[in-house]
Subunit: 148 residues, 2 copies
DNA sequence: CTTGCAGATTAGACTCATTCTAACTGTGTT
DNA sequence: AACACAGTTAGAATGAGTCTAATCTGCAAG
């Protein structure tokens, strides 16, 4: 089920990589393709297995490297929940995460600017935040399909 | 610098433990004392070393056990930041965490009810959240003393 | 063309927080 | 005293992630 990158996605990848002085490689393309194909917040291991279907020689270390590079140049976000394995998310719009207790699935929750603003406003003066992570943990009713 | 539990804190501990069918033990008292003594979000290892000053035979496994028990009966909260070691926090009021990039220190940030409410409101119908974690990551100006 | 080289990839060793296991302890019960 | 049982303990095991040292790749200089 892994389709190739669209021209647009390819450009996006190339631009971000080159802008931070990195190269486009087949491995990076493969990993990026996997991330865009199924936007379900995969773990490194999941990315690894999916990507190997397309590029059998790919190594786990490379998947770690690629993902780190992508995070570094702002192509994807890391998602951590408690001490579980890190997951990766190519959704760059500001959003929160909802982790379903029952299934373990992670859903993106849109974060309206005014809520983001009210959150920033609780910081006392002198605190300057670059990153805000918001995660919910609970139950999502069966039938909810909201994982992009 | 570790002072004994006040009578009030002792009762608080006992009540919470007994309510969930657990016993008060010297080890649990020691660990709880350490948590209340310095409210700086210690890691398990830090709790371990501090507690051993008071109870030299205490084992790391027991510290893990005690902290897990406390979390289970709602006495303390776990605080996770990326994949760093879990930290523990005896502040039960709703609050967010701010992690200082420079020092690694974690500061509690008060969370006003209306902000909490606006956060809850972004969940689509069908999503029912029990826990919300909010963490900021950035720089706190030197001079800010806000770690309780 | 071939040489050099810098960055990327690779397999496998390593780290380290956390969890597990199995033996032991202490206390309360019959 | 013998038992049961929760709690504690040391040390082994786990597993995500990182590090290392050896290739590999693609490109620029000669």
């Amino acid at each position: 089920m892994i389709r190739n990158l669209t021209e647009q996605d390819k450009e996006h990848l190339q631009e971000a990589l080159v802008k931070s002085g990195q190269k486009v490689t087949p491995q990076r393309e493969a990993v990026f393709t996997v991330l865009l194909a199924e936007r379900d917040h995969p773990t490194v291991d999941e990315v690894f297995h999916r990507a190997r279907e397309v590029m059998p020689g790919l190594s786990l270390a490379t998947v770690y490297n690629c993902l780190e590079t992508f995070v570094g140049c702002g192509l994807v976000r890391q998602v951590n929940h408690e001490r579980e394995s890190t997951r990766y998310c190519p959704n760059l719009a500001p959003h929160a995460h909802f982790r379903d207790k029952a299934t373990g699935r992670v859903h993106d929750i849109e974060l309206p600017p005014e809520v983001l603003k009210s959150l920033r406003s609780i910081l006392p003066p002198g605190f300057d935040s670059e990153v805000i992570e918001i995660s919910f943990h609970g139950r999502a009713q069966a039938g909810e399909q909201h994982s992009n």
